[in-house]
């Protein structure tokens, strides 16, 4: 692979950045009064590690051809992406307050036509991995060292297209692709195991030809190590299976199914900000 610039992760700094992301998420959701709280917070540590450690990207040149790509297949977690784009300097932070409002490019689910820094519009679940595969194939044709990251939800892997794409990535040995599954165990109607069991997760991906890494999706050191290991692995795509807690970071949201698509009210926001050290 590319002579990877020896980057060392400053774990403490990344944790602080993740905290800032969570603050932005709860604030924008409270202001909007509409959006997905739980799944944005569960992915916050992984998205932080991608945007502020692993990915090569340029906020002042969003279409830089050699950039690493991030596809938010679980598009309802748009707030975590918007928070990362704001903190990375892609978008004006003042936009966050207008999430989901008429005329604001911060659509309920990410829209690439409306917001710079969003690679492709997502929101209808199950489609991101196929897109990531196509990008990986294109980058390989171009002999570009850039990599592709695709974040999925665990409930999302109930979509059949995910497994079509898992098969394709395995078949084409897309080692420039790294998928991440946010295993927060919850979906709208309840616990994944009750709604539609997805276990055994690792065995499924392995059977489709993937290299799997299982981590605690809130342990920054483990996330960073997994992303590095994924980049070093050759001959197969890697999937990082990250055990997470939905609503992570705010006790009243954690592991609460009702906070899937519900935003914090005024009191809840105050609690959230206090717990997040604001």
């Amino acid at each position: 692979m590319a002579a990877a610039a020896e980057k060392t992760a400053d774990i403490a700094q990344l944790k602080e950045q993740a905290r800032r992301l969570r603050v932005k998420i709860v604030k924008m959701l409270a202001e909007s009064g509409s959006g997905h709280t739980g799944g944005s917070l569960s992915a916050a540590d992984m998205v932080t590690a991608l945007y502020f450690y692993k990915m090569r990207h340029r906020a002042d040149d969003p279409k830089w051809p050699e950039r690493d790509r991030f596809i938010l297949s679980k598009g309802h977690a748009a707030p975590v992406l918007y928070a990362a784009l704001a903190l990375a300097g892609y978008i004006d932070r003042s936009l966050l307050g207008n999430l989901r409002k008429i005329g604001c490019p911060l659509q309920g689910h990410p829209s690439s036509k409306q917001l710079e820094g969003v690679e492709v519009s997502t929101g209808s679940l199950g489609q991101g991995l196929s897109i990531a595969n196509g990008i990986a194939l294109g980058l390989r044709l171009d002999r570009t060292p850039a990599r592709v990251y695709c974040l999925m939800g665990d409930g999302e892997t109930q979509e059949g297209q995910i497994w079509e794409a898992a098969m394709s990535a395995g078949h084409y040995r897309l080692d420039n692709l790294c998928a991440l599954v946010d295993l927060n165990s919850l979906q709208i109607d309840g616990r994944c195991e009750d709604v539609m069991r997805i276990d055994p997760v690792a065995a499924k991906w392995q059977a489709f030809g993937w290299h799997t890494i299982e981590i605690d999706g809130h342990d920054m050191q483990e996330i960073v190590a997994a992303l590095d290991a994924a980049e070093a692995y050759q001959g197969k795509p890697t999937v990082i299976l990250a055990r997470t807690i939905k609503g992570k970071g705010v006790s009243i949201f954690e592991d609460k199914v009702e906070f899937h698509g519900v935003t914090p009210n005024k009191d809840e926001l105050a609690i959230a900000l206090q717990e997040l050290g604001e």
Binding site: S121, S124, Q127, L129, G134, L137, E164
Partner: protein
């Protein structure tokens, strides 16, 4: 991607005057474009022999991706390839391309307005013996309703070649509807396809017949039969179903105050509907729609199916006469 001198396809014909299936002209043109433009990549879902993308696959294996029997993944992968600056052509049968993967086309390709070309073969009744499961009679409707989608239905090999070239040169999603059966050549040498432009063979005083695909040669035949009965019929090729050539449709409607549309597709939401939607607001005239009447197809030889479902020059003549009496 070192250029492969030996991989250049044989000198291709422009198919003018040739009796070929539009899918054959597509496959040959794709191979030709592949030699000219390294950005062209092709995807198929295990039907490359039938869609004729196999020719490209043989010449440019590194730019051909067989996605297996997985149309949703194929469409999404094509979208991803377009995001790296490639010009993907994704092919399978029209039913599967537009039906099975419709929501992927909507969400990923159209909503993001990606430069993906969906070129589907085996549209309409002329699939023949495989029957209703494989006969797309709804594909124009499904694609036409999507914002930003361009929908093209070429009639013969000569036009198909130009359509495929135009699709490759155009930035944005394009659906090209191709057929299985050999079709007569009907467009003249001077014909030049343009997205958004129709082509009038002539404008009639009594009726104007707007046709696409295999119905175009039938419309031309019907015109001659009508002339023998003293009815002045015009014939218009409206390969660009979306965007529709509104100027030409309006001109035809004003000239004859009677329009007949012909398509190898459901009469619901296809070409006829596109014409009717426009004229109802600008120049309400009598419109008769020839197509499949809100029903599924069935197995049988293509020619016989066309007769069974009333897609013949005789049926066009009959419809024109009935309309003329009603005018």
């Amino acid at each position: 991607m070192g250029s492969r001198e030996e991989a250049k396809p044989q000198t291709t014909t422009d198919f003018c005057g040739q009796h070929v299936a539009t899918r054959d002209a597509y496959g040959a043109t794709l191979a030709e474009l592949g030699a000219e433009n390294e950005k062209i990549v092709v995807l198929d879902a295990d039907l490359s022999g039938s869609t004729k993308t196999a020719k490209f696959a043989k010449l440019f294996p590194e730019r051909f991706f067989n996605m297996g029997i997985a149309e949703q993944d194929m469409v999404g992968t094509a979208a991803g390839l377009s995001l790296t600056g490639k010009i993907p052509f994704a092919s399978t049968f029209a039913v599967f391309e537009t039906g099975r993967a419709w929501e992927q086309i909507r969400q990923t390709i159209c909503y993001s307005h990606l430069n993906v070309k969906l070129c589907a073969s085996h549209s309409g009744l002329t699939v023949g013996e495989d029957g209703a499961s494989h006969q797309a009679l709804e594909d124009i409707a499904l694609m036409r309703v999507l914002p930003g989608m361009t929908v093209i239905v070429p009639s013969d090999g000569y036009e198909t070649r130009q359509v495929v070239q135009a699709a490759a040169a155009f930035d944005g999603p394009v659906y090209v509807r191709l057929g299985r059966a050999k079709v007569p050549a009907c467009l003249p040498q001077e014909y030049r396809f343009q997205i958004g432009k129709g082509y009038a063979f002539n404008i009639g005083k009594d009726v104007n017949i707007i046709a696409i695909g295999i119905m175009l040669p039938m419309a031309l035949k019907a015109k001659e039969m009508l002339a023998a009965d003293g009815i002045d019929a015009g014939v218009i090729n409206m390969a660009s179903v979306k965007p529709l050539d509104k100027e030409l449709v309006l001109k035809a409607a004003q000239a004859s105050k009677f329009i007949v549309t012909c398509e190898e597709h459901s009469v619901l939401s296809g070409l006829g509907s596109a014409v009717a939607e426009y004229l109802s607001e600008t120049c309400p005239v009598l419109i008769k729609k020839i197509g499949v009447q809100d029903t599924f197809g069935c197995s049988g030889p293509a020619d016989e199916l066309l007769k069974l479902f009333g897609l013949t020059p005789e049926a066009i003549v009959e419809t024109v006469k009935a309309g003329a009496a009603q005018k």
